[in-house]
Symmetry: C2
Subunit: 384 residues, 2 copies
């Protein structure tokens, strides 16, 4: 089969050619003036995307590395932590906290649903003595394609002293997030999502309040230590040799994001989601998430009765060179996930939806070819 692969994962995402060229620049001294310019510039630009005037550090690590950083820098062994989970990544955040000695109380919501804001708020309000030191929550749960209303939850818990810590790895720049305005204390994100660069960098934003908590944290800190990170950032450096080529790519990607404008980027992701969802519905398929909680990064489609989700994915890969994500844990082989995050073209999504229609019809699902497609065309036409 000729032509490039359609990579429709919720990360890694396709890389723009401009970013590839930027990552192909010669190496520079990571303790020299060129790198200083890059890190200073990208840190400022990432702050704008977080809508924060507080602290942002960039790690050479996967997103899960920055989740570990969030835990070891701001939570001490023995701290009581409320972990809100709606899927695999919520579980992961809770597990990291547990690993590093926190007393984790987990509020688990069924996979495919968001956290109930009222339930979370009520639980926090019960804690009149302020025993809960941190609240961990996922913004966009990649495993299900559901997002949490973190604004509402944060606003509801008002002045409870716990640090409000958000895993925004797959949401930042795909979903609206306003760190300072909403009062978020620690927000983690990653490069291979809406940032359009390969995996390998992750971002940790934290508030002045979190910084104060860090001063007294009793978990040992070395690679993830934010004090050290801030000290080096002042010099325009990182404590340890950074992934220079990824920084070069990030610099270019942020330039592209500025050209497009954050509002437009968020709108684009919303449009992609809506087009994918309405087209899939028009095919008669069931979606895992309800409309009002549906992720702008990834859509989980429930495989029709009698057809395994992994058979659909296999067919799409072998016949069309399209890569979709599968389900995890209890959703394995039950759903498939279409990523529409980062540098994805609208017409590519249309092509993939066309291929899905063909696939389903080949696998015996009763769909009239064109049903969904016409819907997608109309969707695009209406927004021209």
């Amino acid at each position: 089969m000729i032509g490039e692969q359609y990579l429709l994962l919720p990360g890694p995402t396709p890389i723009p050619d401009r970013v590839v060229r930027a990552m192909s620049k010669p190496m520079v001294n990571h303790r020299g003036p060129e790198f200083k310019k890059i890190i200073t510039r990208v840190t400022e630009e990432i702050k704008q995307i977080y809508h924060t005037n507080q602290y942002v550090l960039i790690y050479t690590a996967s997103g899960s590395g920055a989740l570990e950083a969030a835990v070891v820098n701001f939570i001490s062994p023995g701290d009581k932590v409320l972990a809100v989970s709606i899927g695999v990544f919520g579980d992961r955040f809770a597990k990291i906290a547990e690993t590093f000695g926190a007393q984790v109380e987990k509020m688990q919501f069924p996979m495919g649903q968001p956290a109930d804001p009222d339930a979370v708020i009520a639980r926090v309000k019960e804690d009149i003595n302020g025993e809960i030191k941190a609240i961990l929550i996922t913004h966009n749960e990649t495993s299900t394609g559901v997002f949490n209303d973190i604004k509402k939850i944060r606003s509801g818990i008002k002045d409870h002293p716990a640090l409000f810590m958000v895993d925004a790895v797959s949401s930042l720049a795909a979903l609206d997030l306003r760190m300072d305005e909403w009062g978020l204390d620690v927000v983690v994100s990653g490069s291979q999502k809406a940032f359009m660069i390969p995996p390998g960098l992750s971002f940790l934003a934290f508030s002045e309040k979190a910084w104060q908590v860090h001063q007294k944290v009793s978990n040992p800190n070395f690679y993830w230590d934010v004090s050290n990170g801030l000290k080096y950032l002042e010099k325009g450096q990182t404590p340890f040799t950074p992934a220079v080529s990824l920084f070069q790519g990030l610099d270019e990607a942020l330039q592209m994001m500025q050209e497009e404008g954050l509002e437009n980027i968020l709108l684009r992701h919303k449009n992609y989601r809506n087009m994918v969802r309405s087209t899939v519905k028009a095919m008669g398929l069931q979606l895992l998430a309800e409309d009002e909680h549906a992720s702008t990064a990834v859509t989980s489609v429930v495989s029709p009765d009698g057809i395994e989700a992994d058979i659909i994915r296999k067919f799409m890969l072998e016949k069309f060179n399209i890569v979709l994500a599968g389900g995890q844990q209890s959703l394995a082989n039950v759903i498939f996930r279409i990523g529409h995050l980062g540098y994805v073209r609208q017409l590519d999504l249309l092509a993939v939806l066309a291929a899905l229609e063909i696939t389903l019809s080949k696998l015996g699902y009763p769909v009239k070819k064109g049903t969904g497609l016409i819907y997608a065309q109309d969707y695009i036409t209406d927004r021209l």
Copy 2:
């Protein structure tokens, strides 16, 4: 000034065009068959470079991240650890162990000298009750350009039960290292050195014996957890989203290394060192390291009396676009360091030595132009 920069650091090093092109390939699914092929192949090839049949894991992190991994996976809080330091990176390894609760006894040797094998062996032999749980040592100390005779030290301590843990971040593939034959237990390395790719990946090799120790380790482990790493490696994956483009580059770089042959790579690094050292000596300059302990990765040159090392570096950068490393700690402004590691051409080194001669003469150091250069030409001629 036109033309590319001469980047002569002990990492990051110049990137071969083939590797740049490999890193420019489209993203692939890190849980798919293409990535599985890559990680399986590169892991096997890295084992050959380590000369090991035991375990190798690849982290998305700086080299210092893998040093932290070495500590938290194989050392428990309260463990007595002997840390042998001959410079900045020896200090760092010791500091990480301390951070994670080890009782560190440090053997500090002066900067510019190697560890005295007899002294280290004697200290370990005193420990008749086997209280020392781990010995930490740097193979090539990048801050001074001195390497330790780890083979001799390891052989001298015989069957003392401590884990023998080596920081080989800047030495692997530049200096001979035979993990299994020499009996090394944990060996850390990094991508931006002799491996000719940008920073962002690091390697952790460990022995069966270390693996046994890991089963009982009491430091909490998440991002660095080797059990989890091995579990995923079996599936051809990493626990967390890896730096895919760097893996693609590593795959190509290892192909190039196989074509050149490990013996030839080691010989090339030795020749570069010898050429740089003899040329610098011919200019009348003093070298920090003695011949028999001199690094094949980087050469530290003592700045002549009355000329600050940083002035030489500044002149080289401004007039010739040559980047050299400075000295650290007590050697700041006292030495400058010429990296000759990875993808460096012999004639580039000659050009840089020529520029150094010009620089010194401009700054008032009495060197007759051509003195060193002719030596370098002869050195190259003799080996044609």
